[in-house]
């Protein structure tokens, strides 16, 4: 009976366990995780923070189901991997032997870049314990500062505002998420945040924290302004947790280096999720993606390969949907190519498929904002941002993923962007029909 050990109880670990069970039902499966709550929906934390759902809703699997899937679940920290002996050592000294090991240790929040980030009152949004801590703190303090330019920072700011906290959101640059969104999109999100009562401070950074007996009392900005607050939310990115692998001598490069089968440099040791940097056999380069769906997919592949399959993990077109500033926003493809030679930007406001008669049974979403921006290459669409109405998202994603040749509609698309969405929808439909009939 093959012994499988998974380190990490997040979505990559759970998906791997499911794949292993499927392929090797008789295998001996153990999962070790240092989060006392085991597997829960990390992306769901934002909705628990703003009280859309109760805490127990974060747990997708009943304990009985989890027990059936993984009978051996250990809450603990792994301190060492003895890859030669095929063993891991837990804190406390217990040895655990494996035939196949998966490192799904995930990432952790990047530490704040100002002194005093250990104070009571400084929070982030990463684990269930973080949200529990925030729920206690919002009862004491009614002013908060949030720093960070990404999705988690916005979810933190929105969650705190939902509790009636006066939130000051600090942005380093001139606008929100400038790396991905264009100016109009950034402003739309910012307006949405302001509508929630969140006060934005552009080009503002925390220089230092103020405290009394270990408790946060305020912050000082780099321009010398003091702002009293009892809460400071920090979400400035994540770093992969590679220490365990590093200590074991595995190849590391800003993540655990794995081949296209998600196998690491050590025999019978695999890695998946936020911690894995995957080699691309086509380009020779490597990639690491800290997205929940990617972690799930890698977990599935790693689990299958641990059980004897040979599935290649290729990089998919990135696609992520979030609700920011109360606008459903999907980003997909190579948005950083904006401004590159040969790439044109086509943007249109209004309901994405306003001309299309919708069936009576369709659920109406009352989107306040609708905008679609498409990055058009020489022959294909390379990226897109869809805000509000998401009807066009699937066709766009499929066209990006399959590099659909859009030559027949490209000139019209560029000259008449206001009709762009209808053109794309019709063209997509046409290509699908051709595909079905051939």
């Amino acid at each position: 009976m093959r012994r499988y050990v998974i380190v990490g109880s997040g979505v990559a670990g759970l998906s791997a366990a499911e794949s292993i069970r499927q392929q090797d039902p008789g295998g001996n499966l153990t999962i070790v995780g240092d989060d006392p709550h085991g597997y829960y929906s990390r992306p769901g934390l934002a909705y628990y923070l703003n009280r859309t759902i109760p805490e127990q809703q974060l747990f997708p699997r009943p304990a009985s189901e989890l027990h059936q899937l993984i009978p051996n679940r250990i809450h603990g920290r792994v301190t060492h991997i003895l890859s030669e002996q095929h063993e891991i050592i837990l804190a406390g000294g217990r040895h655990l032997a494996y035939d196949r090991l998966l490192l799904a240790t995930g990432s952790r929040p990047a530490p704040a870049d100002f002194p005093g980030n250990e104070l009571h009152g400084i929070v982030t949004l990463f684990t269930l314990e973080d949200v529990r801590c925030i729920h206690k703190l919002v009862k004491q303090g009614k002013t908060a500062v949030v720093v960070g330019g990404g999705i988690i920072a916005v979810e933190l700011a929105e969650g705190l505002a939902a509790h009636g906290v006066q939130v000051h959101y600090f942005l380093r640059g001139d606008r929100f998420w400038a790396k991905v969104l264009d100016e109009t999109e950034s402003r739309l999100v910012e307006q949405g945040l302001e509508h929630m009562g969140i006060q934005l401070h552009h080009r503002t950074q925390v220089a230092q924290t103020l405290s009394s007996r270990g408790v946060l009392t305020g912050i000082v900005t780099k321009t010398g302004k003091t702002l009293p607050c009892r809460l400071l939310g920090v979400a400035i990115g994540v770093v992969p947790q590679v220490e365990l692998a590093e200590q074991a001598g595995l190849a590391i490069d800003r993540g655990i280096l794995v081949d296209e089968y998600l196998a690491s440099s050590a025999e019978d040791v695999f890695a998946a999720g936020d911690v894995a940097r995957v080699r691309d056999p086509l380009t020779g380069g490597t990639w690491l993606e800290t997205l929940w769906p990617t972690a799930r997919r890698q977990g599935q592949i790693a689990g299958s390969n641990m059980a004897g399959a040979h599935i290649v993990c290729t990089r998919e077109v990135p696609c992520n949907t979030v609700r920011i500033g109360d606008i459903i926003t999907t980003t997909m493809g190579a948005l950083e190519q904006r401004g590159d030679a040969g790439i044109l930007t086509v943007a249109t406001n209004g309901r994405a498929s306003g001309q299309v008669v919708r069936p009576a049974w369709e659920v109406a979403h009352d989107d306040r904002t609708n905008r679609v921006r498409i990055l058009v290459g020489e022959r294909a669409i390379v990226g897109a941002v869809v805000m509000g109405d998401q009807t066009i998202t699937q066709p766009l994603f499929q066209m990006i993923r399959t590099e659909t040749d859009i030559s027949p509609i490209r000139p019209m698309l560029v000259t008449r962007p206001e009709s762009g969405i209808e053109m794309i929808a019709a063209f997509y439909q046409q290509t699908q029909n051709i595909h079905v009939h051939t």
């Binding site: 979505v11 929906s41 992306p43 769901g44 909705y47 859309t52 759902i53 109760p54 809703q57 974060l58 997708p60 929940w292 769906p293 696609c319 949907t321 979030v322 609700r323 459903i328 049974w361 369709e362 659920v363 979403h365 998401q390 998202t393 699937q394």
Partner: protein, 85 residues
């Protein structure tokens, strides 16, 4: 009796709707299941990427409306044998 009751939904409601998830959008937050008036664990279907197949489903669209990532849609059911080459 048993056979008839099993075939009824197909024969009497050929164009009924069902909730179809887009598994790539689902983050398992459980808002859908929490708000389902029929108490269906919609999220479990979404994890597997399968349409909600539960006779208790009212197709009220509450889960579709509430999903924060627009990961659910109401779609007409496909009849068995249809759309095949």
């Amino acid at each position: 009796m048993f056979t008839i009751s099993r075939t009824l939904p197909i024969t009497l409601k050929p164009k009924s709707l069902h909730v179809v998830p887009d598994a790539s959008r689902c983050m398992q937050c459980g808002i859908c299941s929490f708000n389902c008036p029929a108490g269906i664990d919609v999220r479990a279907y979404a994890w597997r990427g399968l349409p909600v197949d539960d006779s208790a489903c009212l197709t009220c669209g509450e889960c579709v409306r509430r999903c924060p990532r627009r990961g659910l849609q109401l779609e007409p059911m496909k009849l068995p044998g249809k759309n095949k080459a």
